[in-house]
């Protein structure tokens, strides 16, 4: 592993019966899900804000973000706190329990067929035993989160035109 490469350790989480992984370097902490303070007029996938380590951070409902059906929080629900350069945001996921090592050779590039809109969120797909794991590209998810409103507006426009 060279200096500028990320370690091969990942945090696994589950979202809508699918396994996802984020690089352990990008995860600041894991939290139980508590109450969030809703922010008026924020995008609908933003559940609200929460105070963490003295910072006000946005909480993104990843189910809503990926257009899965929302579901109520329970004991297993977790807040994965992600640090991406200067930004800190929280992702709500169905559950997160595992810390795993995924060797580089177990990771494949995402097939062309899932490219495009969702493909850009993935760094790759790994197979671990009989499990398939989607490697999330955190930076892209965050970047896209800001653009999403814009996208939605454009989609609406296109709909009108066609």
């Amino acid at each position: 592993m060279s200096d500028n490469q990320k370690p091969d350790t990942y945090i696994l989480f589950e979202l809508a019966e699918t396994n996802y992984a984020v690089n352990s370097q990008d995860v600041q902490q894991l939290e139980m899900v508590d109450e969030f303070t809703p922010v008026p007029n924020a995008p609908d996938f933003v559940e609200g804000v929460v105070f963490l380590r003295g910072q006000v951070i946005p909480v993104i409902n990843l189910r809503a973000r990926f257009r899965f059906e929302k579901r109520p929080f329970d004991q297993r629900t977790r807040l994965v706190v992600i640090r991406d350069t200067e930004r800190v945001v929280g992702f709500i996921v169905d559950t997160a329990r595992e810390f795993v090592t995924i060797p580089a050779e177990a990771i494949q590039l995402p097939p062309e067929s899932v490219a495009g809109m969702s493909g850009r969120y993935l760094d790759g797909i790994a197979t671990l035993g009989n499990r398939m794991i989607l490697l999330l590209n955190v930076a892209e998810v965050l970047k896209a989160a800001e653009e999403i409103e814009l996208e939605e507006i454009e989609i609406e426009k296109e709909g009108v035109v066609s």
Binding site: T9, N41, V50, R97, E98
Partner: protein
């Protein structure tokens, strides 16, 4: 006890009390320091005279001041402490370990009694402390001397110096007594009026409330004046009784004036010159509030300027814009400057830890010493106050859980006496506080195990100091029975961390098994603090800086006029456009009463409609930086002690939002 009867003069009394508490604090700080230094004198034939003398004087002052404000339970303890130190000072007794403990107990009782008074709780019962103090030396004998504790004219040294100086300058001192009454008050003659009047005859040096023989309240004043007795009689009229006041009589018996001369006013001149002024924190807050208002005005100015861009010639517009930017920069500096005046050295907080360590060492059978560095590091007053309990907790933990028993330490090749280091320093915009001990460190495996059980640590996740810190700071988790007296008291590690984070700081942990533990706390040098109204909109709490709100009024729905999308409230001689926050924020409407917060001026006036006003709070303002949550009308967030984020409303922006809505 007497406060209820003097309501008309409560302002004056409150003022006296403020000064009183501030002075007591100063004395107690010095007392604590001195007592610690005195410990080495236990069993010595001659205790350090300078120390004993200073302690004696301070207890004497505390007694006098407390008697003056009528806090007998404080005055009496101070009196007994003073009595014992008088004996010590004259070398009539030797300082024993038992007596030394008595002094500590007494000093602690003073502190507790003052806190109780300050928080307007029941006066502390100090009978047992006094009984203990009476057994020391032959204090009983000294106690029979008439103590000036009950004398409202017991004077602080400062006042005495002023009196001697006035006499030396050829003035006479007169004692006036004023008994307030409802009839006089109706004529505008109250104690503040009287105070002001003294300026016409001379200088008011001292004033104190007094309980009269009939149980009523009067006020005694000492005034230095060049007036003759006849002039004073004429001036005093019917409101005031007067008598000449002899300064020499009031001097404490210890003062040297044996050669028949009046004390020369040398002391007044020799007052040590310091560069410090004592300022009421409220005044600084007022200043801060004014700065806040300036910031809002400037923002409005900028809005206006932007509106003029198309109309004004380019170079003129740019010139105005530059001035505006200069004001913005200056305001930032001004704000910073005011914030810095709130800074106090952390040394006093550290000094208190010495006492904690001493107490705990005694209870636990462990041996420890405290090494302090960086006590001159300055930190915001509010931060110091809030950090007191958390620091205490960590220090207690260090002794209770960190340091091992002397035998164990020696068996491990360590000195029997453990060391706790308290360090502070400033680095850039951050104050760093470290609490380190050379104890057994943290049993990471054990903590990790508990973390795993609680689901705080993932399967296979490496155990890092950050994770360990997360686990020990998780609510409800502790690695050792915290039932022991020391650690069980006060706050847990989760509160420690919460406090640090509430102040915008971060915590770090370092430990080496068998070697020790080190907590590092980084806090911002200055805080963005504001007084804010806490309100609810559809059940959700919001904060709005008090400086932005001109008025709060209940919305009388019958006085609201609606047209198109607008609602206008008639108020006084003007109309105020309403902005219903639940609508602006897409929240469900709430039933029941509604209140309007009037913000802005002139055409920019608006009434923000909320459901309830919960109260006024001092909040620490946190910026919202993430683009996902930067929404119009919200300027930041704060936390009110329950860990939940509360959004801060941006008054100026909401007015713009309202106006924008009206135009469309």
């Amino acid at each position: 006890m007497t406060t209820a009867t003097i309501q008309t003069d409560s302002d004056f009394f409150a003022e006296i009390l403020e000064d009183y508490y501030a002075e007591c604090d100063e004395h107690l700080t010095a007392v604590r320091e001195n007592l610690l230094s005195l410990e080495s004198g236990i069993g010595q034939k001659k205790a350090d005279y300078a120390l004993v003398d200073d302690l004696f004087r301070r207890f004497h002052s505390l007694k006098g001041m407390s008697g003056m404000v009528g806090y007998e339970e404080v005055a009496e303890v101070a009196h007994h402490l003073e009595s014992y130190l008088r004996l010590l000072r004259k070398e009539q007794v030797t300082l024993t370990a038992k007596a030394y403990d008595g002094l500590l107990v007494g000093a602690r009782a003073l502190e507790i009694s003052l806190v109780a008074r300050r928080q307007q709780q029941q006066p502390q019962n100090n009978d047992s402390v006094i009984a203990l103090l009476e057994t020391m030396g032959s204090a009983r004998e000294a106690a029979s001397a008439p103590g000036p504790a009950a004398d409202p004219m017991a004077l602080s040294e400062n006042v005495r110096e002023q009196l001697t100086a006035a006499v030396a300058a050829g003035q006479r001192i007169w004692q006036f007594e004023f008994e307030p009454s409802p009839e006089l008050a109706a004529k505008g003659v109250n104690v503040n009026f009287i105070r002001e009047q003294f300026a016409s005859i001379g200088q008011l040096i001292h004033g104190a409330p007094n309980v009269t023989d009939t149980g009523g309240i009067s006020f005694l004043f000492l005034v230095a004046s060049k007036f003759t007795e006849g002039q004073v009689a004429e001036w005093a009229g019917s409101y005031l009784t007067y008598q000449p006041y002899e300064t020499a009589v009031s001097a404490p018996p210890e003062t040297i004036h044996d050669n028949g001369r009046a004390p020369i006013p040398e002391t007044a001149i020799a007052t040590p010159q310091t560069n410090y002024v004592r300022v009421d924190l409220n005044r600084l807050d007022d200043l801060m509030q004014m700065v806040g208002e300036l910031v809002i005005h400037r923002a409005r100015l900028e809005d206006r300027l932007d509106g003029l861009r198309a109309i004004l010639p380019k170079n003129q517009w740019r010139a105005l814009k530059e001035i505006n930017q200069a004001i913005e920069r200056d305001l930032r500096d001004l704000r910073e400057g005011v914030m810095r005046t709130r800074m106090v050295p952390i040394g006093e907080t550290f000094a208190r830890m010495k006492f904690v360590v001493r107490d705990l060492v005694r209870q636990s059978g462990k041996q420890a010493r405290l090494e302090i560095s960086g006590q001159n590091t300055e930190i915001d007053k509010l931060v110091v106050e809030k950090m007191m309990d958390p620091l205490l907790h960590i220090v207690r933990n260090a002794i209770s859980h960190g340091l091992q028993l002397p035998e164990t330490r020696q068996a491990q090749g360590k000195p029997a006496q453990g060391t706790i280091w308290l360090r502070a320093k400033t680095e850039g915009d951050v104050v760093i506080i470290q609490i380190e001990d050379d104890g057994q460190g943290i049993n990471a495996d054990k903590v990790a195990q508990r973390g795993r059980e609680a689901g705080l640590l993932l399967d296979n996740e490496p155990v890092t100091p950050e994770r360990i810190l997360d686990i020990i700071c998780a609510p409800g988790l502790s690695t050792k029975d915290e039932a022991d007296m020391a650690a069980g008291r006060g706050v847990g590690m989760n509160v420690v961390r919460q406090t640090v984070e509430q102040l915008g700081g971060v915590m770090r942990l370092d430990y080496r098994p068998g070697q020790g533990t080190c907590f590092t706390i980084e806090l911002p040098l200055t805080l963005a603090i504001a007084d804010a109204l806490i309100v609810t909109v559809s059940g959700q709490r919001f904060a709005i800086p008090q400086a932005a709100v001109r008025e709060v009024l209940e919305v009388d729905e019958t006085a609201v006029t609606r047209f198109e999308n607008n609602e206008i409230l008639r108020h006084r001689d003007a109309v105020v456009p309403l902005l219903r926050l639940n609508r602006a924020f897409c929240l469900p409407p709430a039933n029941g009463r509604a209140f309007a917060l009037i913000i802005g001026n002139g055409l920019q006036t608006a009434g923000l409609v909320v459901d309830r006003i919960l109260g006024l709070r001092e909040i620490v303002v946190r910026a919202i930086t993430d683009p996902l949550i930067r929404v119009p009308g919200i300027s930041g967030a704060t936390e009110l002690g329950d860990g939940r984020a509360v959004l801060i409303l941006d008054g100026a922006e909401l007015v713009v939002m309202r106006n924008g809505k009206r135009e469309t």
